[in-house]
Amino acid sequence: MAKIIVVTSGKGGVGKTTTSSAICTGLALRGHKTAVIDFDIGLRNLDLIMNCERRVVYDFVNVINEEATLKQALIKDKRCENLFILPASQTRDKDALTKEGVERVLNELKDMGFEYIICDSPAGIEHGAFMALYFADEAIVVANPEVSSVRDSDRILGILQSKSRKAEQGERVIEHLLITRYDPHRVARGEMLGVADVEEILATKLLGVIPECQSVLKASNQGVPVIHDTESKAGKAYADAVARLLGEQVEHRFLNPEHKSFFQRLFRRTA
């Protein structure tokens, strides 16, 4: 049975697309047949981060409007065997998405044997975001450790549990909290909300904490999902999050400031 997972946040710029690309790649690398759908119609980004922008011929809206088949529109990832991308349309707007159309595409993906379908939600709580979350079985809510982002995540969690199809059927969408751009040094200085604070405010199970890391920007610009950068902290943290999503028990890392060793300090001073 395919699992539909929406990556959402309410607020923009917190790392939804970065997370979608990392999570879908991570799942595919673990051998699961995975599709990722860009719901951000009109502000197409996922294809850039997945480095397939030059291979987009047909898109999600074409498939919904039956101008192309799903097989024609799906782009096979160059780095992983099991990963397919369904890009958004850049020339249309979010109203092009219909509930029936989205449902048909999702059902078709299920029939094709996909195990995981990742829906990369646009920011906001309007039609596009609603379409992305409506059919979800699970949700990864991305938040930055900062009050306005946490407030928006709280709002989107409320919408998930009241407006989604699961909610209409009297069930609950499984919630996962992913905190991105976490800087333990700033938390220690009291400039940033700590993991415990965010977890307490949102009362949601923590899937992972992605530390602020230069590798993320580099990965986005190069079009390589950061999870491929197995040396970077963010890459390791995303790999841990994927493992937890698959039900494994993995301890959280990068939550506390690293103490530089005597030699590192010495080196820094003399350099």
């Binding site: 407030r151 928006d152 709280d154 709002r155 969690l157 409320g158 919408i159 549990q161 009241s162 609950r172 307490e200 405010i201 009362a203």
Partner: protein
């Protein structure tokens, strides 16, 4: 608004049936407005009916007669004298198939069958609004900033109250708010309210009860347990 469809002018049996109905869910009928329907009452009985007496029976049962629907010229004149509104005849519903010939109180909204208390077990998120009409509200999780909880009665929150809580919204000055951690944006009881700035200096993040005393909101800590 409840509709009392009369089928007989026998005030004694009306009183008895109504009293039973009210006893089933007292909170639902508490000061709830009532409309008398005369469409199913025969003409001779309409002439007999003592409307003033009927009103006082209802008032004794905490109902508030506010209008009549249908009725002949005599009843309509009587209603105006008693300062009740006269509504035009409704579409005739032949839903009354029950064998009861005596009047039945027919609430237009289904009343909460057992208890008017509303229990919420999941967090109340920013942007959500929960209203416990006609009773208490119990929340077994946190109320987030930007969320709003309202009740005609008391509000109990077993978690942090970070949003707004309004108890006694229909004017019950005895309503209270209880919460495990007071971090509210606003609290109100029977229309009297207190905002964030004052709340921050008043047992912030403590277990408290909030109530009205002398028309002002009071916040006092709950007794500590060992």
């Amino acid at each position: 608004m409840n509709l009392l469809e009369l089928k007989s002018a026998d005030l004694e049996s009306i009183q008895q049936e109504l009293a039973e109905k009210v006893a089933q869910s007292p909170a639902f009928f508490q000061r709830s407005p009532l409309v008398f329907g005369f469409e199913q009452l025969a003409e001779p009985e309409q002439n007999q009916l003592d409307l003033a007496e009927l009103c006082s029976i209802c008032r004794n049962l905490t109902l508030l007669p506010t209008a009549i629907r249908g009725g002949n010229a005599r009843l309509q004149g009587e209603a105006i004298r008693l300062q009740l509104a006269v509504l035009p005849k409704g579409r005739s519903k032949n839903s009354e198939t029950s064998e009861a010939t005596a009047p039945t109180a027919e609430p237009e909204q289904t009343p909460v069958a057992t208890s008017p208390t509303r229990i919420i077990t999941t967090p109340i998120r920013s942007g959500q609004q929960i209203y416990a009409r006609g009773g208490d509200l119990i929340v077994m999780a946190a109320v987030s900033a930007g969320a709003e909880v309202l009740a005609d009665g008391n509000i109990h929150i077993y978690g942090a109250l970070r949003g707004r809580a309004l108890a006694g919204v229909q004017g019950d000055e005895n309503a209270r708010i209880f919460c495990t951690s007071q971090e509210a944006e606003l609290v109100a009881i029977a229309g009297q309210f207190m905002v964030d700035e004052v709340l921050r200096t008043n047992h912030w993040k403590e277990s408290v009860q909030i109530y009205l005393a002398g028309g002002r909101i009071q916040i006092s800590p709950l007794p500590k347990q060992n």
